[in-house]
Structure formats: C-alpha cells, structure tokens
C-alpha cells in the first residue's frame, strides 16, 4: 500500500489543490484585514464567477479561450462586489451600528441565501460543465488533468499579480496602511470607505477567479461554492485571520493533510481531516499559526 511514488503523487496533488484553496482564503482574509468583517457569502461569489465563466465559454468564446474568460469573470464579480459593498457593508461604518460583527455576519449570511437561492430559482439545481480541451499533463510520476494543472498555474499567476498590486502600487500601499490602522489612513486624507469598497471587490474577485478556473474540474451549480468556502475558512483558522502568508502556508498544509489522509487512512473522511486540524489549532493556538494576537475589548 505504501510506496514512495504514491507519496510523491499525493504530495503534489495536495500542494496543487492547496494553492487554489488558498486563493479563496486569501479573499476572506484580505477583506477582513481592511474592512474588519467576515464575508460568509464568499462561496456565492465563487459560484457567480464559475457561472460567468460557463456562460462566456459556452455561449461566447469557446473552450479554447478559457484564459480570456477567466479574467473577464473575475472583473465581472469585482464590479458586482463594488456594487454590493455600499449597500450592505458601508452602513456598518456610517450608521453607527453598535454590534458590527453581528451585523456583518447576519447581512452576509442573508446575502449567501439570497444569491444561492436566486441562482437555483433562475437556473435550476443542475450541474453544468463548460468542458476543457486541455490534454493530460504528466508532473513527474503523476498524471494530472489539464484543466486542474492550468488552474494551478493560473492561480500562481493571480497570486503574483495580487502580490504586485499590494507591494508595487499606490493603491496597494493604501490598502496595507488601512490594514494597519483605519484611523491612520483617514488622517492621511484617504477615503477609507472607498478603500473598503475596492478591498471588498478585490476579495470577492479572488473567489471568482477560483470559481472560474475550477469550473471544468468541480462543475458549475448553485451550491458549488460550499466546499471551497469550507476549505477557505479552515485555512483562515489554521493560518490566522488577517495574515496573507498564513493563508498561503495553511492552504498548502490543508491540501497536503487532506490528500495524505485520503490516500493513507480512509477516503470517506476526506473532509473531516481539515476540521480535525482546525479544532486542534483552535485548542492549542486560537489565533492561528500566523494570526494576530487575540486581544479583548
């Protein structure tokens, strides 16, 4: 049962899926670090991203141009996020709401129900597949489906772009400053509410990229964001809320732990390994591996 080849295969598969999960977690943690809220509807933006990708590939561009469709899907969801944020999230700061965390949780869970049920009501619960013509790729000893490998490479590209945006642009500087201190940014004369809007848009666009890239792998249906969101939140807990390196490391860690557990222990429990890891982390280090120190009040 145990062989080094199987081990290598498992590790590679784990890293590849882990990086894509990390993209989702990055969106959650990024929004949290600026806007100080958890967006529970992240999976629904993933779902919308995959639906836009499906529509573009099937009706407009064709499967060969999936790499054109993916950024377009992300851009669409970015704009959608920019529209939704002022309606739902901005009142948190402008209307003097006392319990902001509760408000954000309730509102984003309502948004989750709204988008998910709207998708089912409009498009039905069916699974759609945009298809992929990419040939199977051999990575060392492991044959990997072309779509999955392409998703992995594009995720790396998206991560690189995200890094450049944060480190090399004025906007990135402002966003990093806002993550450190909202008041400090305001003092510098930057419209923090505008920054919130942009951050929300970027965060949900990250989820949409994951949705668009994984559309041919995990298919397109109204609840396809659930599993990825679950992984995203697990990664957040393991890596620490608000930490970008934490999201990346924890994403890969989760991917590897899940593949190892599935390959060597028992496969029906695939989704349980991550949660056991999460509960373990919560018990010994509640703020996560890279998390900010939890401070009261």
């Amino acid at each position: 049962m145990f062989s080094s080849e199987l081990l290598a295969q498992t590790l590679i598969a784990g890293v590849m899926i882990g990086v894509i999960y990390a993209l989702m977690a990055l969106g959650i943690t990024f929004i949290y670090s600026i806007v100080k809220m958890i967006n529970w509807a992240m999976g629904e933006f993933y779902m919308i991203g995959s639906f836009v990708q499906y529509a573009l590939v099937v009706y407009l561009l064709g499967p060969d141009l999936w790499w054109v469709a993916a950024p377009l899907s992300a851009a669409t969801v970015f704009l959608l996020g920019m529209v939704i944020e002022p309606i739902l999230i901005k009142p948190m700061f402008t209307q003097g709401i006392e319990r902001r965390d509760d408000y954000a949780t309730v509102v984003t869970i309502a948004l989750l129900l709204l988008l998910r049920n709207l998708a089912t009501a409009l498009g039905g619960p069916y699974q759609r597949n945009p298809g992929s013509d990419l040939p199977t790729v051999m990575i060392g000893p492991l044959p990997e489906s072309g779509a999955r490998f392409a998703a992995f490479l594009c995720t790396l590209l998206a991560l690189a772009l995200f890094y450049l945006l944060l480190k090399r642009t004025w906007l990135g500087l402002a966003l990093r400053a806002a993550a450190q201190s909202r008041i400090g940014v305001e003092t510098a004369g930057i419209d923090i509410l505008r920054l919130d809007q942009v951050a929300f848009g970027i965060g949900v666009a990250l989820a949409a990229i994951a949705g668009a890239l994984l559309a041919p792998v995990f298919f397109v249906f109204p609840t396809n964001g659930v599993v990825t969101t679950v992984k995203g939140f697990e990664i957040i807990v393991i890596g620490g809320l608000g930490s970008i390196p934490g999201a990346l490391v924890a994403g890969i860690l989760l991917g590897v732990v899940e593949s190892l557990g599935t390959a060597f222990i028992s496969s029906p429990y695939q989704n349980a390994y991550g949660f056991l890891l999460v509960l373990l982390i919560l018990l010994i280090r509640p703020s996560g591996l890279f998390g900010e120190r939890v401070r009261q009040a």
């Binding site: 958890i38 129900l113 809320l241 949660f275 009261q296």
Partner: protein, 332 residues
C-alpha cells in the same frame, strides 16, 4: 437569596399571557387537518431552536453558528443509542439531551476567550465537523441514507404529537423566560453590552457564558431528540448550515435579543416555507431581502418596529428612539 431568585417575575401577568397565547393553539387540532398539524408540529421544533439560539446570540451576545448541530446531536445521540444498544426511549432521549449539553459545555469552554469573529468561525467549524462526521461515518450513522428511529408513541395520531410539541415548547420557553428574568439574565445582558465592564462589576463571565452555552445546547438537544422520534428518519441535513441560516432568519426578523419577537416569527416563517415549497427557492430569496432590509432600517427586527408603532400610537409613554451611544459620523 433563594426567595429573591425570581423576584422580578410578574407571575400573574406571565400566566395570563401564556394562557391567552396557548388557548387558541390548544384548539387548533379541532380545525386543522393532519398535514397542517404536521407542519405546525415541525414549526414548534423551530420555535424552541430559535428561542434558545436567541438566548445565546441575542441576549448574551455569543453569536454561535452551531445551534443546529446541537439539535442534531440530541437527535442522533438518542437515535444511535436505540439503534446500537437497543435502549428504551426514556433512557435514550435524556442521553441525547445530556450529550448535547456536554458538548455545548465543551464548545463553550473552547470559545470562551474568543472575540465575536473568531467565535462565529470556531462554532461554525464545530458544526461543520458534526455534519461531516454524521455523513462520513455512514457505517455507524447510515449517513445520507438516513437513520431510522422508533416513534415516540406506538400508535398515535398527529394531534398527540402536536400536543407533545406544544407542551415541550411551552415548558422550554417558560424556563427560558425565567432564566432571562433571573439575576442570571441580567448578567447575560451585561456580558452582551460590555464583557469587560461586566467582569469589572464582579460578574463571573466565565461561569455565565459556559452556563448559557450548556443550557441553550441542552434545549436544542431536547428539541432535536423529540424531533427525531417524531420524524422517524434522521439525516445529516439536520446539521447543515442552511438550518442555521433559517434560525438566523427567524430570530433576526423577530428581533435579535427581544424575547417575544423570535417566538412570534419562528413558526409563521417555517409554515410559510413549507407551504411555499412548490414555488421553488423564491421564498428564501424574499426572506433574505427582508433580513437585509430589516438590518439596515430596524436592526431590532419586527419587535423594534412594533415598539416604535406602539410609541407612536400612545405618545404619553416615553419613547426610546434615540440610539444609546450616538456615534459621530466619520469624516467624509
């Protein structure tokens, strides 16, 4: 001390209100058909869940997302004991409740020091773990196939179950009311308003918070155990996040933190959902929009809306329209 415990309860008013509200419910089986009674029975299950979650999230401010999991623990705890050990119901159902209370206590201890956001994520992770374990351990729980459990009564019509759930809901809500009106209830409110401040005034926040977690989980487990032996088939769907979302809708529409609000809205929402099922998912879309609209205009839900209307109709009573801590608008 003992005599003062419920000094704040106006017993006469309580009995009057309870009797006035229950009398029509007692007569319902005379007019409702079997299916309507079934819908009502299920909606009473949600009344208990919504009321107990409101106690935890609304009154104490511990915004847990694991309440549906405790109902599942109560149901599965009882059902599995019957299935694997052949235990009688009078033993298995208290076991399910005790298991829910015990796990509620444990979860309460884990999240004790967490801020609101971490608490929501941790409780959510706990609930998902329960959901996944119930699905994955199919050799033990029969997973998605569903666990068949024996019925509460050997041969009884829907009316008997309806009355059982009515009594159960009544007793639970009464118990919760007494908790809210006892000194414990004031400690709970104090923790919600400002935990650090409550602590500095000598409230044992650790004990109150764990007690509330244990108590509300036990109520959820109780409701879950009865639900299990009424519906006869248990599925992991019981621990699904959508159940939690439904509870949130019920409580938020009624008024998060208001005692009466969720009691009044929980059943109608469940009944509407059941009867509107044939129109697909639109009812959930409407509820979601309603919740968003309420959160933006009346965060106190329908209870706050009703309070304002009453204030307008009877202007002699003082109105509490002004926010407690007016915050200055951030500079543009």
């Amino acid at each position: 001390m003992k005599r003062q415990l419920f000094a704040l309860v106006d017993w006469r008013r309580l009995v009057l209100v309870a009797a006035a509200l229950t009398a029509p419910l007692l007569l319902l089986p005379l007019v409702a058909d079997a299916y309507a009674l079934h819908v009502l029975t299920i909606s009473l299950y949600y009344v208990i869940l919504a009321a107990s979650w409101n106690l935890l999230a609304g009154v104490t401010g511990q915004f847990s997302l694991a309440h549906q999991a405790f109902a599942a623990i109560g149901g599965y705890g009882s059902g599995l004991l019957v299935r694997h050990l052949g235990a009688p119901l009078w033993a298995s159902m208290p076991f399910g409740v005790a298991l829910a209370a015990l796990l509620g206590f444990a979860l309460g201890r884990i999240v004790l020091k967490m801020r609101a956001i971490y608490l929501a994520i941790a409780t959510w992770a706990f609930a998902e773990t329960i959901h996944i374990l119930l699905t994955a351990a199919y050799r033990f729980t029969r997973g998605e196939l569903g666990l068949t459990v024996p019925a509460l009564y050997r041969s009884a019509g829907p009316a008997a179950y309806y009355y059982t759930f009515l009594v159960l809901a009544l007793v639970s809500v009464l118990a919760m009311y007494l908790v809210v009106r006892s000194p414990m209830g004031f400690f709970m409110c104090a923790i919600k308003d400002d935990e650090l401040r409550a602590q500095s005034f000598g409230v044992d926040t650790v004990r109150v918070k764990t007690a509330v977690f244990t108590l509300t989980s036990a109520f959820a487990g109780l409701a879950g155990a009865f639900y299990a032996h009424y519906t006869l088939v248990l599925s992991p769907q019981m621990a699904d996040f959508s159940e939690m979302a439904k509870l949130i809708i019920m409580v938020v529409v009624g008024g998060l933190g208001s005692f009466a609000g969720p009691l009044i809205t929980a059943a109608p929402i469940q009944i509407l959902t059941t009867y509107l099922e044939k129109y697909g998912e639109w009812d959930m879309v409407i509820y979601a929009v309603l919740v968003i609209a309420l959160m933006r205009s009346y965060p106190g839900g329908l209870a706050a809306l009703a309070g304002e209307l009453r204030g307008r109709l009877a202007p002699s009573r003082p109105r509490h329209a002004a926010p407690k801590h007016p915050l200055p608008d951030p500079p543009p």
